[in-house]
Symmetry: C2
Subunit: 228 residues, 2 copies
């Protein structure tokens, strides 16, 4: 394995709080396999059997639901050093709940389950990290479900923009995604998203120039969180 891939692997949060030597004592990198995918490649389908723990060591991966037609709901973007579907590794149904697509050129390290079991048993820190990761994913997924079910497009926009303004520390945030990608994250169509953006502008709450947003009436935007 290349040194940068090994570094990415050891930077995985599952190994937080462990020394590199401890990790290397407990599992042999030789027994892991590396897989490479090109940008845009389909890595795995929803329903595929998942029996090894995959950790991304290069690039990033989209985890999403796909309709038989083209409809998409993006669940999350997984980046280098992140484990994939940790919860599923030990689920009674070992099937991936989402489809995985390479958003860039990607390299994945595949760790056999017995090695994971050994780490869980022999390293308390790894156990805690693993449980934290699975718990965190469940929280994310539950929140996603709540948003999909209970919020209108306008509410999603308001919540997203307020969040970005917060993160970027300004009332003039720049969208980190194209509107097209944002539509996938929200699980709505692009024209519908565009329409609602326009309405918020028409109401004088926002102004936009491409990805550059300006919050003009923050209070009304916050009010839109609860009323649409």
């Amino acid at each position: 394995m290349q040194e940068d891939h090994l570094k990415a692997l050891l930077a995985c949060h599952l190994f937080d709080g462990m020394q590199r030597r401890e990790v290397e004592n407990l599992f042999s990198v030789e027994q892991c396999h590396l897989f490479y995918y090109n940008h845009g490649a389909l890595i795995a389908f929803r329903g595929d059997v998942y029996t090894n723990l995959w950790i991304i060591v290069e690039g990033s991966i989209a985890a999403e639901f796909q309709d038989f037609s083209g409809k998409v709901l993006k669940v999350e973007t997984l980046k280098s050093s992140e484990p994939i579907a940790s919860s599923i590794l030990f689920a009674p149904e070992n099937n991936l709940p989402v489809t995985l697509t390479a958003e860039t050129d990607v390299a994945i390290c595949s760790i056999p389950r017995p090695q994971v079991v050994r780490l869980l048993q022999q390293e308390e820190q790894f156990l805690i990290n693993f449980l934290q990761d699975t718990g965190h994913r469940l929280s994310l997924l539950a929140e996603k479900l709540r948003l999909v079910q209970f919020s209108t497009i306008t509410e999603k926009i308001a919540s997203y923009i307020l969040d970005q303004a917060d993160k970027q520390g300004t009332d003039s945030p720049i969208l980190p995604l194209t509107k097209e990608a944002l539509a996938e994250v929200f699980g709505v169509t692009r024209p519908s998203l565009s329409r609602d953006f326009s309405q918020l502008c028409a109401r004088g709450i926002l102004s936009q120039a491409g990805r550059q947003i300006h919050i003009l009436k923050r209070k009304e935007l916050e009010a839109a969180l609860e009323k649409g």
Copy 2:
């Protein structure tokens, strides 16, 4: 603790494959607390901090999302002997993702987290069971999200009825829920559900008399799974 509550506790799948004596050696029932709730009571809100592992020892609990208005999406029904929100116990955000409501009179056993940690470390079987439970919940939640996002009401009905027919081993299944409860499970309004049921009847695919369903054209019902 009453003997029947203790029995329910030990019947929890987390203890599968362990002897009663092993369990009792590893954690002291004395350090657990019992909580009682009446039918209909609110047990906990979404967002509440969750730091002990709760196991139902009597009755059943609805885990659901609730709108600020009255809209409800039921995620699952948790029955006696089932653990609650096992994933969340170790999540970095220790907040319940759903609201818990008592569907009957309920008794809950609350196990302090340190005791759970000890069990996880010292009993491999418990660790496996715990990971299986969290994995299973994630699978369920992911599937729920997919259904909410990608299927029409008619598709949900078709899928549900075919599933029930399968479980009950007959093409004339009886709905185990009122239509009102079913609407909550689907996250739709009751009149909308009723309207789509009527349409399926009008198309000659089903007939219904209260909760008694008859599948008249199984092939068309199966086709409705993919096309609405």
